[in-house]
């Protein structure tokens, strides 16, 4: 197991390093110097002096060659010092911390939701193949895969607004937005969370249902199922105990990919529904060319994704000895 994990880490760490270079490329991409903009901004607000310039030079190394600048930035990220936001004139990590937590919470809940929906639906669809239920779910899953997330969000928001007169944006009621954390606030979050969860989970649920159904159908025709049945095992117990367990295997191995898609998808939905996740912050940063913030967020999201993938590797390693043994 340890050897297996070490092998995976040997892939992920260089990946992360590579991605940090790409993110730095994003920071450097727009023409014009970050310091120039910032200095212009400070001068305009009349609080600029030479000390500021020297401090910024020390922090970002703006007149040094690119590898020095890269190193200053990336070592800052590792120490969770993400630089200052040009747009908000505040340290980026203050802006990011809460939103990052919300992103992770939303991501985890969506994965849980996806699995609790997809597994039973996939099993029922396969066992009752070509029944009404199967056709209904097949149709729904095509629709689920076909609808872009943000479109679903728009339609739901529009329906809620025009039919019920409520706006289902955000994750908190007005009175809780700036309130400190309390039980009430957490409960409030849960009552708001299910709508984005539903929207984000649709696509994944649909895909996983298809995979599980196909896998299970392959397994159900195998002789060992027939054997178990002939020995008088009750139908449901038999299905859940053997074929489902095998059919779930590829399920776990693709789970690593659900996280990248989830973080990706949540970005646009979060923008539409104005959720307090990092997505809208990244968009704002990009629109105002606040590149240090944008680059840092891209890197953090990548790191999160890789951690998620590593976790799914670990689960897979526990579930499937062939993988653990490095076959």
């Amino acid at each position: 197991m340890i050897q297996f994990l070490a092998k995976r880490l040997a892939i992920y760490v260089p990946m992360l390093a590579l991605m940090s270079i790409v993110s730095f490329g994003i920071i450097e991409a727009p023409p014009g110097d970050y310091l120039d903009d910032y200095v212009a901004l400070l001068k305009a607000s009349g609080e600029y002096d030479e000390g500021d310039a020297q401090r910024l030079e020390r922090r970002y190394g703006l007149d040094s060659p690119f590898y020095v600048r890269y190193w200053k930035w990336v070592s800052g990220v590792v120490r969770w010092d993400l630089g200052d936001s040009l747009e908000f004139r505040r340290p980026v990590n203050e802006l990011v911390n809460d939103r990052l937590a919300m992103t992770v919470v939303l991501g985890v809940f969506t994965v849980v939701f996806t699995w609790t929906m997809a597994i039973p639906i996939g099993i029922i669809s396969a066992v009752k193949q070509y029944s009404f239920i199967d056709y209904a779910f097949t149709f729904l899953s095509y629709l689920g895969v076909g609808t872009p997330n943000f479109l679903l969000a728009l339609v739901l928001m529009w329906t809620a607004f025009s039919v019920f007169g409520v706006s289902i944006t955000g994750l908190f009621s007005d009175e809780y937005i700036d309130a400190p954390w309390s039980l009430g606030k957490i409960w409030d979050m849960f009552t708001h969370m299910w709508v984005p969860m539903l929207i984000l989970g649709t696509d994944g649920t649909a895909r996983l249902t298809r995979i599980l159904r196909a896998n299970l159908l392959d397994e159900l025709g195998k002789p060992y199922v027939e054997t178990a049945r002939s020995k008088g095992l009750s139908e449901w117990r038999l299905i859940l105990k053997y074929p489902v367990r095998i059919a779930l295997n590829p399920f776990v191995s693709t789970a690593g990919w659900t996280l990248p898609t989830l973080f990706s998808g949540s970005l646009i939905v979060a923008q539409v529904m104005s959720l307090p996740t990092v997505g809208p912050l990244l968009l704002k940063a990009l629109q105002s060319q606040d590149m240090y913030m944008a680059g840092s967020i891209v890197l953090i999201l990548t790191a999160l994704t890789l951690v998620g993938t590593l976790l799914s590797d670990i689960v897979l390693g526990f579930m499937d000895p062939r993988i653990r043994m490095g076959a």
Binding site: I11, M15, L18, M19, V22, I26, A29, P30, P31, Y142, L143, V145, G146, T147, P148, F150, L151, L154, V155, M157, W158, F161, S162, S167, T169, G256, W257, L259, P260, T261, F263, S264, G265, L267, I268, Q271, V272, L282, L283, L286, Q287, Q289, A294, G295, I297, V298, L301, T302, T305, L306, T309
Partner: protein
């Protein structure tokens, strides 16, 4: 698959299956898939629209009309008495005494017959021939004669006409994007599968890397780096190339998988022993063997491209005015209050959904039909 062909029993002439070409077999099997046929029909229809969008448009899609903001879809009367001669009523505008907003009511005293194959605004067909023929229109200059099948937008522009032009852009971005990723996919997937060893490992690591990063944050960052002062055409190509970069990994994997299976096959080894070079072996002997699979996978990749373009433009980071795409149209629907008063702004979304479903059904059908020699299916 390259081994002995298994004749398939089918209703339309069991014997002819022995003599039919591979493509004929694929077509026969594809035809049985009803949803796939429906998907094919929709895709063809959408591409026909993309060829002649201006002909199908009613009004100049860029023409603003300050008097007709957020006009709801014009109810078209199909029957005039008993005759199937569609017409629309004129409009009369009234100021609402409470809200002071202009409101429109149909004016039943005025009838405007819809003209078929008629003259309208001038445009360039395929960018070359100047013409002013349109499928339908009203034969009047009266400003209160409104013929807006899908209503108008925030600036009083005709949504139907805009939608027709958007179809061209969105469908072509999908097609062009998929062609670029197909090229990358076949080239890199082919190299990876054909040579194996260090080349294979490098390319596979690259694909793994690209698959494990959250793509949307990365490409919105890249899209934001597209300079604002670029010309419309440049932005269009930049966005298309960007979008194609996310799609090629799936294709490359598929191609590599096929190569690995075929590489050891007798006919490939035979070709190599006879001295055929790498390129010839690949393109003359191996590609024809899995081209149908590639086409199926490619079809399934198009919707991803369409959704990608739509999402980017929807966020305001992809295509921008004056280019019209489905995403650009949906950008107008970002404000939920605007949508609740003008729900027809969501119609472009229905087109996105329709095209994505059509491509998915078609791709599924193709995938099932791609290997006509297999018995099950």
């Amino acid at each position: 698959m390259a081994s002995a062909s298994v004749p398939v029993e089918r209703a339309d002439g069991a014997q002819s299956a022995y003599a039919a070409s591979q493509w004929k077999l694929v077509w026969w099997r594809f035809r049985r898939h009803k949803l796939a046929m429906a998907g094919l029909a929709v895709v063809i229809a959408l591409y026909v629209v993309s060829l002649f969008p201006e002909f199908l448009a009613i009004a100049d899609p860029h023409e603003r009309n300050a008097k007709k903001l957020y006009l709801s879809p014009t109810p078209v009367q199909i029957l005039d008495g008993w005759l199937p001669m569609p017409f629309v009523y004129g409009l009369k505008s009234e100021r609402n005494p409470e809200t002071l907003a202009l409101e429109f009511e149909p004016d039943t005293s005025k009838k405007y017959r819809i003209q078929w194959i008629t003259r309208g605004y001038e445009y360039k067909l395929f960018g070359f021939f100047t013409t002013d023929w349109h499928l339908m229109g009203l034969d009047t200059e009266d400003d209160l004669a409104a013929f807006h099948i899908l209503g108008t937008d925030r600036m009083g522009r005709d949504l139907w006409s805009r939608l027709m032009l958007a179809t061209r852009i969105s469908m072509s971005v999908g097609l062009l994007g998929v062609i670029i990723s197909l090229f990358l996919g076949i080239l890199l997937g082919g190299l990876s599968g054909y040579y194996s060893g260090a080349v294979d490992v490098t390319i596979q690591r690259m694909i793994e890397f690209l698959r494990s990063i959250p793509t949307i944050p990365l490409w919105i960052a890249l899209a934001a780096a597209v300079p604002r002062d670029w010309s419309v055409v440049k932005v269009y190509f930049a966005i298309t190339v960007l979008i194609s970069f996310i799609g090629w990994t799936t294709l490359a994997r598929e191609v590599r998988g096929r190569f690995l299976v075929l590489r050891e096959d007798d006919f490939v080894i035979a070709a190599r022993i006879y001295g055929s070079g790498a390129m010839r072996t690949i393109f003359r002997h191996m590609v024809p063997n899995f081209i149908s699979h590639i086409i199926a996978t490619t079809t399934l990749a198009v919707p991803t491209m369409i959704i990608a373009e739509t999402s980017l433009s929807f966020l305001g980071l992809g295509l921008r005015q004056p280019v019209i795409s489905w995403g650009v149209l949906l950008f107008e629907a970002q404000n939920i209050r605007a949508v609740s008063s003008a729900p027809w702004l969501l119609v472009p979304g229905a087109f996105v959904l329709l095209s994505v479903l059509a491509f998915n059904f078609m791709g599924d059908g193709l995938r099932d039909a791609a290997d006509p020699y297999s018995i099950h299916g």
